[in-house]
């Protein structure tokens, strides 16, 4: 009876997820292996991928750098929030969530206004009699955009895990003779590893596949794999090459998250915020 | 006595191929307080859950008033349960918890109110109607759980280790309380516990279970005095269990000596298990003793001393108020009524040897039992 009930309730869901997540990936695979013009089986799309390896490398590099920056910036913030009074925690948590709910397109666009050659920063600088800076169109601007957009994705899982660390463990470590730094490095940091890994994944995945941020904040040098894929679908009408690229991107993300999870021995796969 | 209410016929339960119940046959009478007693994993809770309708037996039948109720779901059985750790609804207050079953049954509001109030006074929680569940103490929660089950006027109340989460003193009080309520309501209680003392002090009938099988059914006194095998003997109280040979009726030989006993009906020279309860043994001067041995350890227990005595390499536990210093040589006498002879069973040789006895060890094991269930 119980078994039937379980299947009855979860069956439609399983079916739904198979149809709308697994099968579509199969369709992507099908497109990746067929010719755009004739529809015949071909490996050409995969062969053409070699051309995009440098782009892929750039994307991964940008994503890793922004994930690490997010970690360095996000950890102290998460730690700080987690050690406030409950009410303060709630307020700060809400303030971290809030940007995630607002249109990321417009928020990124605001950065264009800020970094632009004649943008807010440079207007201020020249107003102060300082030389203007070339900020937009640089890799730095793209990484800034990524960090800005995905920092909350780092802070929230870190906070969720740090806040759960038992205070008594810290006291125990102090009791056993650890100083502040040692308490952090020997107790707090290892215990927050799952949060770090989940935060890194949550920043890395959208960052490596973004196309909007690089389009708005980047220049000629910052074409990312997401741009290329979007271009294949929306401009160059080469869905098959686009599909092949998506497949590569997916595998890349799979491998990266797999390595991270293996590295952390994290069974859960990710912390739900 | 009174009429039979529930009967279990050849109950077998398997989980993933593992046999948890192995052919249980049992009946319960009306107005009876019956206890299923056994160590964790013996199948007592499974039996209770089958009666409650939360599990379907792999094979076998549950008869209620002579009718098979295997296919009747839990919510249609005239049986209610007091769950382990109570399972009170945290989102409802005391009143709503107790009224839950009546509301589901869509009874008129006034009747619900009356019956809940009545129950509250029976369990002594008048004035607690609007309290939050998590603001109650363990004993109070226990009472709410009992009230919630009894307010539905079931024919049978199932109680699954209801006192396990309480501290010792409260447990003693609640034992009396439960007995009182059972007598006041005049319904059948089926009680599951691993605490033999609880079982002996409350029950009309005790069913000792192990490994999915019933080991012995009987009145508490019979179970204690006439254990059927080494398992029961060991599980109910402390026992020194020795290998012996039944020479003839009323004559048993062990430790190379023949003793008078009260048991009969064995084959001549049949190997048997001999049980001697630690509190039945009296020290006598060495020269008067049937046996002599050396005291190896003495532990003060409050009411008595636990004294371990080594008889030719076999260690006995003796409970007595008569202090003996470690290292003394002592003599003991065994009267015929102190000796109980059992047939050999699969449990022979597994219990009753105090060679590795340690008071702390026993307590540890008991704690572990508590955790498990």
């Amino acid at each position: 009876m119980k078994k039937n009930k379980a299947l009855l309730l979860s069956g439609p869901y399983i079916l739904f997820m198979v149809i709308f997540t697994l099968i579509p990936l199969g369709v992507v695979g099908y497109f990746a292996l067929t010719d755009p013009d004739t529809g015949a089986f071909t490996l050409n799309n995969l062969k053409n991928l070699a051309l995009f390896l440098p782009t892929l490398g750039t994307s991964v590099g940008y994503a890793i750098v922004s994930a690490l920056i997010c970690l360095v910036l996000g950890y102290p913030v998460a730690y700080y929030i987690a050690h406030r009074k409950p009410l303060t925690q709630k307020i700060l948590y809400m303030l971290t969530m809030l940007p995630m709910c607002m249109s990321f397109l417009l928020r990124t666009l605001a950065w264009v206004g800020i970094l632009e050659t004649n943008g807010i920063i440079n207007t201020l600088l020249t107003g102060l009699g300082l030389p203007a800076l070339e900020l937009i169109g640089t890799p730095g601007a793209v990484i800034l955009g990524m960090v800005y957009n995905y920092l909350p994705y780092m802070i929230l899982p870190l906070y969720a895990i740090i806040v759960k660390i038992d205070r008594r463990l810290i006291e125990a470590a102090e009791d056993l003779g650890c100083n502040g730094v040692q308490v952090f490095s020997k107790v707090v940091l290892p215990l927050s590893t799952p949060g770090i890994l989940s935060g890194l994944t949550m920043v890395f995945v959208p960052a490596v596949s973004t196309f909007y941020i690089s389009q708005k904040l980047g220049g000629t040098e910052t074409m990312l794999i997401g741009d290329v894929i979007e271009r294949q679908f929306k401009y160059a009408n080469n869905r098959n090459l686009g599909a092949a690229l998506s497949l590569v991107l997916m595998l890349l993300v799979l491998v990266c998250t797999g390595i991270m999870n293996r590295f952390g021995g994290d069974e859960e796969g990710g912390v739900v915020v | 006595m009174s009429k039979e209410l529930i009967r279990l016929q050849d109950l077998v339960m398997e989980f993933d191929g593992e046999r948890v119940l192995d052919g249980i046959n049992l009946y319960f009478n009306d107005h009876e307080f019956l206890t299923l007693l056994g160590p964790s994993g013996c199948g007592k809770t499974t039996t209770l859950r089958i009666i409650g309708g939360f599990l379907n037996p792999t094979s076998g039948k549950v008869l209620f008033d002579g009718k098979c109720i295997n296919e009747v779901p839990a919510y249609q059985r005239q049986i209610n349960t007091v769950f382990q750790r109570y399972a009170l609804f945290p989102h409802l207050n005391v009143y709503d918890n107790i009224a839950f079953g009546l509301k589901v049954a869509k009874l008129p509001k006034t009747e619900i109110q009356e019956r809940v109030q009545e129950m509250l006074s029976i369990v002594g929680l008048k004035g607690y109607e609007h309290r939050r569940i998590d603001s109650l103490s363990g004993g109070q929660q226990q009472r709410v759980a009992i009230a919630r089950a009894l307010v539905n006027r079931p024919k049978v109340l199932l109680l699954d280790e209801p006192l396990a989460a309480l501290d010792l003193r409260l447990r003693k009080d609640m034992q009396n309380e439960l007995k009182r309520i059972q007598q006041a309501m005049g319904i059948t209680f089926i009680y599951v516990t691993h605490d033999q003392e609880e079982a002996l002090s409350m029950s009309d009938t005790v069913v000792v279970m192990d490994k999915g099988r019933i080991q012995q059914i009987g009145k508490p006194e019979d179970i204690y005095n006439e254990p059927k095998n080494a398992f029961v003997a060991d599980f109910i109280g402390e026992s020194n269990i020795l290998d012996g040979i039944m020479l003839a009726d009323y004559k048993v030989k062990f430790f190379g000596r023949t003793f008078q006993c009260l048991d009969a009906g064995f084959a001549p020279n049949e190997p048997v298990d001999v049980v001697i309860r630690p509190e039945d043994i009296d020290f006598v001067p060495v020269e008067q003793g049937h046996l002599t041995g050396t005291v190896t350890s003495v532990t003060f227990k409050g009411l008595n001393y636990d004294i371990i005595v080594d008889f030719k390499g076999f260690k006995w536990l003796i409970q007595t108020t008569d202090y003996q210093a470690e290292g003394t040589t002592v003599g003991i006498r065994l009267n015929p009524e102190d000796i109980h002879v059992m047939k050999k069973s699969e449990y022979s040789g597994m219990f009753g040897d105090y060679s590795s006895y340690s008071a702390e060890y026993d307590e540890l094991v008991e704690d572990a039992d508590d955790e498990e269930e």
Partner: protein, 635 residues
């Protein structure tokens, strides 16, 4: 240590909120520029509430997210209960299935779903519009479900399993026990899952972007196309209002949560007064009714019985009523009240082509350029027009009939014509340097030059510069062009299409190549801008013409639109805004004389002789050029 943390936290929050503050400030600005605050105004809010289309888009977004959240919450909760009861091994499999949309990049999820919908819908079921409201809803449910499952599952695991047993013991059927007990226990999980699903769905751009067809568009997707063009500040006003709304919602929810927790600490649960209970139920009922009615209204509104004419045009390519011009679409809808125009834009011929080829949508009217029309005719992507519905075709000037791309006048009716030239800012660019296309290669202006982000126009410029035929199929010549463009890369600030507006008007870039009419519009907004046509080297002369693609569903109405556009007064009024030349006889007379006599809009016939138009090149050449261009872009 603590102090540094505190300072860092404050700085990070400033960092997170500054861009939003910029947008909020911009919503009260009279000017369009984010970096210059001209003066305070509330006009943008007025504009916002006047813009029915924008509000409808917001409605669409709300509709999709409310529906998808409601469905996935109900579906996901029951599924979670089911999964919870599965055997551990099976449960693990199902959970990794659940994790797929969570760990997969959104772009992959979006692409895979859109390919599936088009593949199944168009190829297997023969649907014309296989990317529709339903498929968008499915996509949103697909990525919302995991949020529900992942939030509800832990609550189920934490729940004491004896509680459901207890409920059944007390007479509840399994269904009753779920609603009376389990639901209460897992409610916090359901609520937080639903909130996450709702915000994700409301703000989703990437997945919707790939799964959206032409009929039903959500706000973020449309905002994306807005951000390609100069953005109207009323969008900032909307952002501000949404910000306030979400802020208030979040604060309320937190307050409710805090109140709930306070309650938990109290010893007594106060019995709710019956009147209060009724009041609460009535409130809940009213809310539910409002949601249902709202959704119903939106659905009806979206599928009203009027004919919806899907028009797809270049960005900034129709008079929209701003700056005192005629609102062409409104005028058309007034003339034909049964037709509702659903207007969307693209930024290059190639984008349009990709959209149509990608399939899954219905478009009734498109306005591609000459060479693209020829390509579409060759690929059977256009429907022959019924000229009996287009009596005003007689107004089309003879020069624009029997063209190379549509020699028999079967498929197209011209909309505009124009040239491609250089726009530059004379404040920064030395007049002596403005000699020809080589200006776009001038290292003096490195990183201040904007270049076309489409292969045909980019290669065209290289071909004019190198003196090749613009329609060359010689791979060596094309390769030489590619090398030339690749050489240019180091001085190019950015490859752009409609984004050129913001950069040129804001003087972030000084030189760019674009279509003359658009350049005219930029010049109206910044007096330092000048237009230059390299008449000696040659330049592109193009015609954009109205066509009906084969995926059209309302051909007759599209023809009515074409006919409408062929009226001289309408065409003239339209040109007043878009600043191109009209192919309609007499339209020039209806234009603002200043514009009608402007050589940028109507160059001398002598000069025009040096212009040439792009022809349709064979598929092989097109792909060759496309690949070369891609290489330049990703170099």
């Amino acid at each position: 240590m603590k102090k540094t943390n505190r300072i860092l936290t404050v700085l990070i929050f400033i960092f997170l909120y500054i861009p939003m503050a910029v947008l909020v400030v911009a919503s009260f600005n009279t000017g369009k520029n984010l970096s210059v605050f001209e003066s305070f105004t509330l006009n943008q809010y007025k504009e916002l509430f006047k813009d029915k289309d924008l509000l409808a888009l917001l409605g669409n977004s709300l509709l999709i997210s409310i529906l998808s959240t409601a469905i996935s919450t109900a579906f996901g909760t029951f599924a979670a209960v089911g999964i919870h009861n599965l055997k551990p091994k099976m449960r693990k499999v199902v959970m990794s299935l659940t994790n797929i949309p969570m760990t997969n990049p959104d772009i992959v999820t979006g692409i895979s779903l859109s390919l599936l919908f088009v593949f199944v819908g168009s190829n297997m079921l023969g649907q014309k519009e296989s990317l529709n409201f339903g498929t968008l809803l499915i996509a949103h449910i697909t990525f919302s479900l995991p949020y529900i499952i992942l939030n509800v599952m832990p609550k189920l695991q934490q729940m004491n399993p004896a509680l459901t047993d207890a409920a059944m013991d007390l007479g509840c059927t399994p269904v009753q026990s779920f609603f009376k007990v389990t639901l209460h226990e897992i409610m916090p999980g359901i609520v937080s899952g639903a909130i996450m699903a709702f915000t994700m769905s409301l703000d989703d751009f990437v997945i919707s972007y790939f799964v959206t067809g032409s009929g039903f568009v959500t706000l973020p997707v449309e905002i994306y196309s807005y951000t390609k063009k100069p953005i109207h500040p009323k969008i900032y006003a909307m952002f501000t209002l949404l910000f306030v709304l979400i802020f208030v919602l979040m604060v309320t929810m937190n307050l409710l949560q805090i109140r709930g927790e306070r309650k938990k600490e109290e010893t007594y649960v106060k019995q709710e007064k019956p009147a209060m209970k009724i009041f609460r139920r009535v409130c809940a009922g009213v809310c539910a009714l409002a949601v249902v009615l709202g959704c119903g209204w939106l659905i009806v509104n979206n599928q009203n019985k009027q004919v919806t004419l899907n028009v797809m045009n270049w960005g900034q390519n129709i008079a929209d009523g701003s700056d005192g011009t005629t609102d062409i679409i409104k005028a058309f809808e007034e003339k034909y009240p049964h037709i509702k125009v659903n207007y969307s834009t693209y930024d290059s011929n190639e984008t349009l082509y990709s959209k149509l080829k990608g399939g899954g949508l219905t478009v009734d009217l498109i306005i591609p350029s000459d060479y693209m029309i020829a390509r579409m005719i060759a690929e059977d992507m256009l429907l022959p027009l019924d000229f009996s519905n287009i009596p005003n075709y007689k107004n089309v000037q003879a020069d624009f009939k029997n063209t190379a791309y549509d020699p028999d006048n079967t498929y197209s009716v011209p909309y505009t014509w124009g040239t491609v030239g250089i726009i530059y800012n004379e404040k920064y660019v030395d007049g002596e340097d403005v000699t020809g296309w080589e200006l776009l290669w001038n290292e003096k202006y490195a990183k201040k030059i904007l270049m076309f982000d489409n292969s045909r126009d980019a290669f065209g410029i290289a071909q004019y510069k190198l003196g090749y035929d613009v329609n060359t199929m010689d791979e060596a010549e094309l390769q030489a062009c590619a090398d030339e463009l690749s050489r240019q890369r180091s001085v190019v600030r950015k490859y752009v299409m409609d984004q050129i507006y913001a950069d040129m008007e804001g003087e972030n870039a000084w030189i760019g190549a674009y279509y003359a009419g658009d350049c005219m519009m930029m010049m109206e907004n910044n007096e330092n801008l000048r237009f230059y046509l390299p008449e000696n080297q040659g330049f592109n002369l193009f015609i954009d013409a109205m066509c009906i693609p084969s995926c059209a569903e309302n051909k007759k109405e599209a023809e009515l639109f074409i006919d409408f556009m062929c009226q001289p007064e309408i065409s003239g009024a339209n040109m007043d805004y878009i600043c191109y030349g009209s192919p309609i006889e007499g339209a020039r007379d209806y234009m603002d004389p200043e514009l009608a006599n402007n050589p940028v809009v109507y160059p001398d016939a002598e000069i025009l002789k040096n212009g040439s138009s792009y022809a349709y090149l064979p598929e092989k050449t097109t792909r060759f050029v496309e690949d070369l261009f891609m290489k330049i872009r990703i170099e």
